[in-house]
Each structure stands twice: as C-alpha cells, then as structure tokens.
C-alpha cells in the first residue's frame, strides 16, 4: 500500500505505527488520535490501543497517550502548515489528504449566526485510510445492467458507515466507465460517468485530479454540494451515468428527479441497514415511493468479507446474502 500518508504523522506517532507488525499495518483502516487519551487503531475491523512500545493492547491505561505537542504537530502537518487554507474543510469537519485518505476532526466550534463558522482547539483526529480494491464490484455489476437500453439501472446502495460503500462505488465507476460489464452478453462500450464527490471520498481528488483509478470516461466534480453538482454536471458534461454519495437532503431528491427526466442513470448511496429503514426517512421514502430506483443493494461486512443483497424496484429480493457471497476483500 502507498505509505505517503505516514508523512502527516509527527515523529513520535510515526515511530509507534512503524512498529506495528506488517500484516496488521496492511489492514489498517482507522487511526484515532485524541489528545490526552489512548492512541487507538482499527485494523481489519478490530479496535485496539497502541502501547508506547508499539504493541497492541485492549487495556486503555497501558496505551500511549498523545499530548498537546503531538496533536499540534499533527494538525500542522495535516494542514500543510496552513490552517488558513482549510477554513471550508474545518467547517465541514474533515480534511482530505493526497491519496484520498480522510481525516475527521473534532474540537470546539466557533459559531456565527447559529452556524459553525470555524473549528478550533482541535483535539480529536480520525485518519481513515482509503483503499482501492479493484474487482470488488465484479460480482455485483451484472445485477445492475439494463440490457434493453444498454446501460445501468438506477441503483441505491445502502449500508451503515465503515462497510466499504465508497470503495464499492469507486470500483463500480471504474467498471462502468471502462465498459467492463462482467457479463458475457453485455457488449456495449463504457459510459460517460459523472461523479459528484462532495466529500472528496470517491475520487480522492487533489487539485482536481482523482487519486484513484475511476476509468477512462469519468468526470469528477470535487467538493461540490450534491444537488448543485448534479445539475451542473447534467447541464455541462452530458453524463450518461451520475454517481453521488450519501443522498438524503430534500434538494437531492429534486436533483435526482431532474436527472431522471434528463435520461441520466443514477447510482447513489445512503446510510441505512435495510430498505425498510428508508421509509422512515422523508426524502428517501419519497424516492422509493416514486419507484425511482430499480435496484437496491444492501452491504454487510462479516469478518473480512463484503457481502451484499440485491432487490428490484418492487423491493423483491433478487439475491440474498445467503445465496451468494461477495468477493473476499484483499
């Protein structure tokens, strides 16, 4: 794995991480630093603390406790010594690093007119390492194909956080854009894909250029509010497939309806554990009621495997997790 993200850590923390066994290091997903509290890492789905000797422990008191100097240095390095360039990021609560890794922040907010104006006294960091798992979308894509129109179906992907939603969407974008349909009868070329990457997670763009392989025919609108971004893309980039992360606001539904009328196929994700969950959520229930989506995918993660179930527009189960398991995670 690319290890450039290690350079954002101050020496003390970097040395601890370097002491991790290689197998564990390769599985790192989250690194959590909280000032004055135990240093925590999450590798392969398991949360553990790191001792000053670089060993794993489940006893918080034995763990290394990062001090104010550690967090100060970490923030300085994370922001490229320029906190002032990150005002918008701080308002949103996260910073994107080269390579698409994301750092969530917590601290004390400064309010102006009831809205968060700035984040100060930042003391909590959650470094989420982005993974590019090529091929993870292979078993799923055949269920999303629209053979009559030679394109993909309107799809909603559901899962709780941390289950690999973004990783899956990223791979689907790459496959659709490259025309690798993973089905013997699907023999049409790749589609023009537009990704609205509000939180810079799907593409991990740095200076507007994606860090991940998103296929040859993909355009990315980075850091753009979803509803606005969808409209901009439809108007200006003539996409055939539109990909958005985490829909849920009223204006998102409006933009999705617009996309539908424009003849653009949509692949969207949302937080949730099952399709029934969505009925209690105003915007999403409206979209379901209007039979907007033709496929619903629910993701699960068991051990190190990514599993999914597929439902059609009537929400009938086409494929359950019992029947077929997704490809094993790398």
């Amino acid at each position: 794995m690319d290890q450039s993200w290690l350079s954002v850590f101050p020496d003390t923390l970097r040395r601890l991480l370097a002491k991790l066994p290689e197998s564990l290091f390769a599985e790192l997903e989250e690194i959590r630093i909280r000032e004055g509290r135990p240093f925590e890492v999450n590798a392969g789905g398991r949360h553990q603390f790191l001792t000053p000797d670089g060993e794993m422990t489940s006893v918080p008191s034995r763990a290394y406790h990062p001090d104010k100097q550690d967090t100060g240095r970490l923030l300085d390095l994370l922001t490229n010594h320029s906190l002032y360039t990150m005002e918008e990021e701080l308002r949103k609560g996260f910073i994107t690093l080269p390579g698409g890794h994301r750092v969530g922040l917590s601290g004390r907010t400064v309010l102006a007119g009831g809205r968060v104006e700035h984040l100060r006294d930042i003391s909590g960091f959650n470094i989420r390492l982005a993974r590019e798992l090529k091929g993870i979308g292979d078993p799923l894509l055949p269920y999303l194909l629209d053979f009559r129109h030679q394109t993909v179906l309107h799809t909603l992907i559901l899962s709780p956080p941390q289950q690999g939603k973004t990783t899956l969407v990223r791979d689907l974008v790459r496959l659709i854009s490259g025309g690798s349909w993973r089905h013997p009868e699907a023999r049409w070329p790749g589609k023009k894909v537009a990704v609205i990457d509000e939180r810079s997670e799907i593409a991990g763009s740095k200076f507007g250029v994606p860090s991940f392989d998103l296929g040859p025919r993909t355009d990315v609108m980075d850091g753009c509010p979803k509803s606005e971004g969808m409209m901009m893309m439809i108007r200006s980039m003539s996409p055939e497939v539109l990909v958005v992360d985490e829909i849920g606001r009223p204006e998102d539904a409006e933009a999705l309806t617009e996309a539908l009328h424009a003849g653009v196929r949509v692949i969207a994700t949302a937080h949730g554990t099952d399709v029934e969950d969505l009925e209690s959520r105003p915007v999403l229930s409206k979209l379901i009621g209007a039979s907007f989506f033709q496929r619903y995918i629910v993701l699960y993660r068991r051990e190190n495997q990514l599993l999914f179930s597929v439902r059609d527009e009537q929400r009938r189960r086409i494929l359950g997790i019992e029947e077929k398991e997704g490809r094993q995670r790398a």
Partner: protein, 172 residues
C-alpha cells in the same frame, strides 16, 4: 620600502573594515524595508490567495530577493518532505541558519521568531493580524536603524581610515 608596504596594507585593511561596518549600518534599514514588504506580500498570499505556507514563502522569497530569499526558501524546504518540520521549527531553524547573511540585528530576528509561533496555525483573519503586528514592530526597528545609519555610517567610514593611520603611526 617593506615598512611602507606594510603601512599601506594596514591602512587599507582598516579602511575596508570601516567601510564594511558602515555598509552594515546602511544595509540594515534597506533590508528591514525588504522584510516588511515581504511580510506584506505574505499577507496578501494568505488573505486573498489561500496559498499554502511553503509555497507562499517560496514565492514571496523569490520576489523579495536577497537576503530575504534564502531565509524564506530554507524555511519552506524544511516544511516539506523529507524534513516535515512544523512551521514554527522550520522558520526558527531557517532564521538560525540564514540570519548571519543579513545586516539585520537580533531585534528583527526576535520579531520574526515571535511570528513563527503563530504562522500557519490559525484562520486567515488571525494570520493577517499577526503579520500586521510583525510589520508594525519592524517599522519601529526601521526608524531606529535609519537613525543609527545617520549617526554611525559616516563615522565608521572615516574611523577605519583613522584607526589604520593610528596603528601605522604607533608602529613606525
């Protein structure tokens, strides 16, 4: 003959030393002015350009010329890989390494050193304030430096020659 040659050597060396000292007094206010202008440019880069600090320092350094450039360039390079020092450490180290090459004194160095504690660590408005404070302090130093230039520059120029002559007379 040899004596005469030695005397000429002593006088020219002493004169050169005097000139050098005078030159330092003449250079100091000029360099302080350059530093002030550089900080103002940095203010603009931060306030309106949202330029990240290492890049802003490099750019401003290039525009400002010697002796500001080596200081800013050294600070910028130490912020980047492979050093990855913090903004504060980088600037402090750059000041320690490169300050000898300037005609400026410790008062100006202290102002820059104070600035290093806050540079890059807060929002734009705050940065603007800190830079403005440093500029104001430097302007005060510039006035002092100009006064010193007025009183000492000429003096050191002639003092060098006179001191050389004095030694020659004693030795002769």
């Amino acid at each position: 003959m040899l004596k005469l040659l030695g005397a000429a050597l002593i006088i020219s060396a002493a004169t050169a030393a005097g000139w050098f000292q005078a030159k330092q007094y003449a250079n100091r206010p000029v360099q302080i002015r350059k530093l002030i202008l550089a900080l103002r440019r940095l203010q603009t880069e931060i306030q309106y350009g949202y330029t990240p600090l290492p890049e802003a320092l490099l750019r401003v350094g290039e525009q400002s010329g010697d002796p500001i450039r080596p200081i800013f360039a050294s600070a910028a390079s130490q912020m980047n890989a492979p050093f990855n020092y913090t903004a504060k450490d980088s600037l402090q180290r750059a000041l320690d390494q490169e300050w000898k090459g300037t005609a400026m004194k410790t008062a100006e160095k202290d102002i820059m050193s104070q600035l290093s504690h806050t540079l890059g660590t807060s929002d734009r408005q705050d940065q603007f304030g800190h830079l403005a404070t440093a500029v104001r302090q430097l302007e005060n130093e510039e006035i002092v430096a100009r006064e010193e230039q007025g009183s000492y520059e000429k003096m050191f120029k002639s003092l060098g020659l006179l001191f050389g002559a004095f030694i020659v007379i004693i030795l002769y």
